[in-house]
Symmetry: D2
Subunit: 466 residues, 4 copies
């Protein structure tokens, strides 16, 4: 019987995936889930959906769901804490993603790095400082699983504020690259497409800009199959899931892996996240000079209007699911969180890639920065696995982002807008901006999202000091 | 269908354990085992024993066994190479272990560190230089599993001569400490004694001088149970296996864990090898000033005469097993080699402690030295897991031995007897020797084992240069 | 009596400065200077100029000058080797500097980093590989002083080919920043402008992109004077030497320190090279978007036509000086080479900034890369001084260039044009280029300078592989 | 006009040397010296002696001397702080040095490492914690020069308590080794014995256990002269100063460099402190098994009775000097403190070996430990110079002591007697002790000096917990 505190428990997507995975898991994990959200109504809906999932015939476990009135109430006595919030609203995200377009800077996601990532971090870090202090106060021994972006900077904040915290950040982007390699195995060797868990991959980097330096399937060196595979698919691209041409053309989350393949062609190691993410960590002149170039590289910009519309649909669906006018249909996801939680509870060993503070697993990156590598999960333990070295040119690209994130974090910690601005102008996506443009854009974005910033920063002094 | 080259294939003990484990394993590993030994007759006997094991009803796999006339023949095309030799004979080991006694230096094992370890290393390294070159020549992609002592220096030699080698060293000593902790769990919590695989331990150090810095069983912090356990057993000692008082008193391999408990009491982390081994890495005044003190600490010196007698019995048993006058009775051991091999072939992920070159898994030890930590085994991959930091006083004890081993290795590599001697006098077991005694002992030991040394070193010049 | 081998001994500028400094030095250094140049005539002219300098009344030492027919002849028995060559001719440099302009990439110097730096490195490294082998062969104990650009990559080549070499790279750019700080002291405190040797500066970085993190004059913290100084001069700029408005406007080597001051304003540490150099290590959108922006920042682009014209004048002057139709007028320079040489010969301790392999003096940069920091020069010894840490944002800018240089070097070493290209596209000066433009520019530059490349690289294969 | 706070200003020896050096220096350093001592009378005597020195005809500077009633009064406004105290009295030192003799442990000095060093550290650290806090409070920008032993642990305390402190530790032991090498130059090359400042030495290690890895005089590799020199003097020993046979035999501070030469013979690098100190950092079986062996190695044990007698003489002399019945006769010493102070004030660059926190100057030692290497002194700046690597066997000896000191310090900081005891038993001088003896000795020493310990540690609990 365990207690899971779910912060951001009104989530329309992740919470539902998580509730399904918990209900369907064949292990014997069970207990209470305490939902907490500043949108209490949404948490309440999820509570009811969770109970309906537990009542499904497919459900193996019936978790009890509660809604907490305060953060501290949710955290009290928790074994696990899940952090999965939206910092600000989609209105702020609209500024993050679209304000830069006037300046010729396009972003496919805008929640990790690039101008949008910096502004989002400015809103997020102060909240996470509060979470870290609350966890220290209420459940210092709990395992904390972060799903929120910007991932690296969220995890960094938790450890910097409360160094003894037992936290890690989970992300599924590497899984997509593993699935891609499974497709490559199938294509090149004619074997049935293996499950990604049959592969061993050595992945490392910073979240959303990870690299697979080695991939083995039995005794097959999977990366060595890529040159032939690229002969066929480098120009056309390759969708590793099944989808219609219409979807490929219109779903803003789709991509045909051309960016990933191009990075392999250039560097000999595989970019190991969705192409939409990878493209945000390199010069905007490489893959996102303009919307046309984005299309050529086989991915899409994700307009926030799309997110808003989807969000509205999901809310409506939530209401139907909560009141029973639509039936819940639980199914298992490809996420690993539940698997990792079971390993932490002593049900076997799992190796998976997560985001955690660098204690030497990536000797090429600064100690203390948050990096993503394989880690061993076992009874109440997470230990990072040493990663293979990145080639020097790739290391350089990763290091630049890794230190940008450090600079950005320490700038936010000190509420030092000049220091944050330096991490802003050094974003690879800002490569095409001159200093005046960068400053003007930064100021515009500050103003656009100031509702969430004024409490923490002295914006006015910075804006006045031309 | 794989090929395993077993070097030292006439082994009376390890080879048989290994053949049993292979035959009984529930996986689907199968193929050929090529035995090679300078004692061809012994290899031939093992071949016949291996076949008899395969014919047992309990056997799930029938491996084919061959005896190779040359090292290269054995290695050609191997998927795995097992190295398990006795460097020299028990006559030389008699000098290693007993010559120092005249000088008041006692050794419980004498094959790893201490005066015996240094001399044994001097015989072993030149052989391993040859193995490394042969592997490079015949099967450069094979996985090489070392069982020979001195473990660290054998693995070091392999990597130094052929840096691309895929080698690691397996040792069961940490398993004993894990079993001890399982007994502690049983004693203190009253739960049924768990299997050691249910524990997660963070073990690190150099082979035979490893330390458990964290041990978790489900959500139980196992080390935190030790203070109460020590209240009961620190003075009396505690045997973690079942054995008779007579065995405890007379079996030179038995020990009652007092050394291990004493190290925990002093340092707060658990010595994680057999007490016989642990005691050889610290000042001989701590646990082995004289035979009486050894008995007080609940372990035994292992006279080589005992090994010789046991060896003779084993040879006779081998003859009977080979010719069928004694029936083979295969049973599974607690060793991990077969489990690791299966992981390397792609049958799942295994985390286990092995000896491998330090690439950062122990940042407190020199890079390039051989250390023992957890490693992740998966398809054609071994990656070290970063270990928790040792307390500074323990780190100091480990570092001293780790660098002694490095100095000893480089001295042997350069055939520089002065440099080897410096690693000899700096052995903690030589703490009670003054320089003249140390020199005299070293010379005596050189002379006593010179049959195996003269080919490689200019002993005479060193002996003449008083 | 020492022998100095001067490789590139036909130099029209550096050789003359060096001959003057040697002749006028008040120490008692004396001996032979062996000039070697592929333009033997130029070396011959310098020989005669050198003799004329020795005959001047001001000269304290009369060095003997010889012209060597071969590299080995020059090097044989040398105590010091000076390397000061032009890799290729100004025709190739014209391609280096001006070809990128069509693509909107401007370069103020074009000999260190940026597109020009990469191409120049491609010509230079193969020559330096030869120098390193010749030094190993002819004078392995000689001290080797490099003046050639690209500095870092020249020094890297020497150490990589011949690790025991005793080499370092000298550059005067930090001195200019020290002179600037002396001017600041004068301006802000009203004291007579001190000599730069009275300051202690902690400078570090990569050559031409060095940073002063601390500057002390007696008990004055000189950097702390900058905020007030910038109030006065940030907008107008400040020339630290005396020069006419006409010179400031037209001399392409002049700059008014606005870039340096801007870097200080942004990062709190001082860019410590000429502004023309500093600007080449950051995004071309910062200070060199176009010629107009360059002028606004108070420095100039240096057209190669200017260098050619100046070169012609210098040749003519050399002819007059050599044949005596123009009198030599020796005077001391601000260069440190002679001072460092004397320290190496045992005449006192000198601390000065030079370029040498990183052994830990800059823990933030990769070990083995060439960095510039203070070093202690004394009898036959150069030891790097540990530098203060750079702020993380500055460290990021330096690291990017440092690893670019490493990637570029290893690409050239392996004659791997794809790897060289990756270092090319990652140049901050190429920030505004998309991949197609970068590739097209790179190919154009390869073709433009192929006379010096075809011997070493398989250009055609690369050019064909679109 | 500067102010120097001299803590321990009643010193009978160091203070006088320092006052002389200040008075005779040819620079233009002048100002006030504030003497502070718990023995105010002694400080008062020194004040009067200082004034008399200033009145001598030889004196170039007349410093003003004051006696401060409190530590804070002395420190207020100081430019420099000199720390030079005796922790406890010679009665406690008598226990430090002689209590171990009953257990067969002899100490030549007993104030740095070994049992005496640990006990002395236990008395000293709490005092230094107070000094660090007072300096932070009263003169945070002052340069702090430590002369007190145990040097490493004093400097460590200062930095650990007040990380921004500008402190270093000065010791003359390396100078003695430099003088020895000057004598070697004279002996082997027949040149006039050079001044030690003409040599360049690369010295590193921990205080009193430093090593010269390179020594150059002009272009001469001085260490390369040692093998021939040892042919002559290894057995007989060699006194590098002039002294009578009687002095050599009886002055307990004399030694004939046999230990130093033996270390060179064994390791190829030169032990670079007085033999009395070097011998304390290695197994007591090497050079100090018993008084006879000490004599054979050409040095002496220094009985505290000798120190007491000498102290008495010095007090009497002080009284005479203070009241004028004995004339002051100022002369310059070989100490470097005044030279370093002048460099810090901006009067030139000095490179000298001092003790400071490891920031990378010795990559083989733990960062944050106090090490001794060359440092560059210049205007308000001290920067460590990277040291050459020690051979692995020497590194091992140094590392053991370095980490012992760290463990001892952290044990004291935490008032953790078990942890202190572990650093005690791991002292090389305790090599011959078994655990029971070590414990018994440690307890005896605690009791013997408890007057200075009870305030800080819970001795009784430790003594009761057998």
């Amino acid at each position: 019987m365990i207690k899971i505190a779910y912060i951001g428990g009104g989530s329309k997507q992740w919470a539902r995936v998580f509730m399904n995975d918990l209900a369907l898991d064949e292990g014997d994990l069970c207990g209470e889930i305490a939902l907490y959200d500043i949108d209490r109504e949404a948490a309440e809906r999820n509570r009811r959906i969770g109970m309906r999932i537990g009542n499904c015939p497919e459900a193996r476990h019936k978790w009890s769901y509660t809604v907490s009135g305060t953060l501290d109430e949710a955290l009290a006595g928790a074994t696990f804490v899940v952090l999965s919030i939206l910092p600000g609203t989609f209105d702020e995200m609209e500024v993050d993603v679209h304000a830069p377009e006037k300046y010729g800077v396009y972003q496919s996601v805008g929640d990790t790095v690039g101008p949008g990532g910096v502004l989002r971090a400015m809103r997020t870090v102060p909240l996470y400082e509060g979470f870290a202090r609350a966890i220290k106060r209420c459940c210092p021994k709990a395992w904390v699983i972060n799903f929120t972006n910007p991932m690296s900077i969220c995890v960094k904040t938790l450890y910097d504020v409360f160094p003894e915290i037992k936290a890690f950040g989970c992300c599924h982007e590497v899984f997509h690259a593993q699935n891609f390699l499974c497709a490559v195995l199938h294509e090149q060797l004619g074997v049935p497409r293996p499950d990604r868990h049959e592969l061993y991959t050595d992945a490392c980097g910073v979240n959303h800009f990870t690299w697979i330096t080695e991939a083995k399937w039995r005794n097959v060196d999977v990366l060595s199959l890529l040159p032939d595979f690229l002969q066929k698919y480098y120009r056309s691209g390759y969708y590793s899931g099944s989808l219609t041409a219409e979807q490929a053309r219109t779903d803003p989350f789709c991509y045909n892996n051309r960016v990933k393949m191009d990075l392999y062609r250039r560097f000999g190691v595989l970019g190991a996240a969705g192409d939409r993410h990878l493209a945000e960590f390199v010069s905007n002149k490489w893959y996102m000079s303009d919307p046309r170039q984005v299309e050529e590289w086989g991915f899409h910009l994700t307009p926030v209007s799309y997110r808003k519309a989807r969000q509205q649909e999901r809310i409506e669906e939530s209401i139907r699911l909560a009141d029973g006018t639509q039936a819940v249909q639980p199914h298992r996801s490809d996420e690993e969180a539940v698997r990792l939680m079971k390993a932490l509870l002593g049900c076997g060993t799992v190796v998976s890639n997560v985001n955690i503070v660098n204690v030497g697993q990536m000797p090429q990156m600064p100690l203390g920065a948050v990096v993503e590598t394989n880690c061993v999960f076992d009874s109440d333990s997470v230990r990072p696995v040493t990663a293979k070295q990145l080639p020097s040119d790739v290391c350089n690209l990763v290091y630049r982002n890794c230190v940008n994130i450090e600079t950005c974090y320490y700038g936010i910690k000190q509420r030092n807008l000049q220091m944050i601005f330096e991490s802003f102008v050094n974003q690879p996506l800002c490569s095409s901006l001159d200093m005046a443009q960068a400053r003007s854009l930064f100021e515009e974005m500050l103003v656009g999202t100031r509702k969430y910033l004024d409490e923490f920063y002295d914006l006015q002094a910075f804006l006045d000091n031309k």
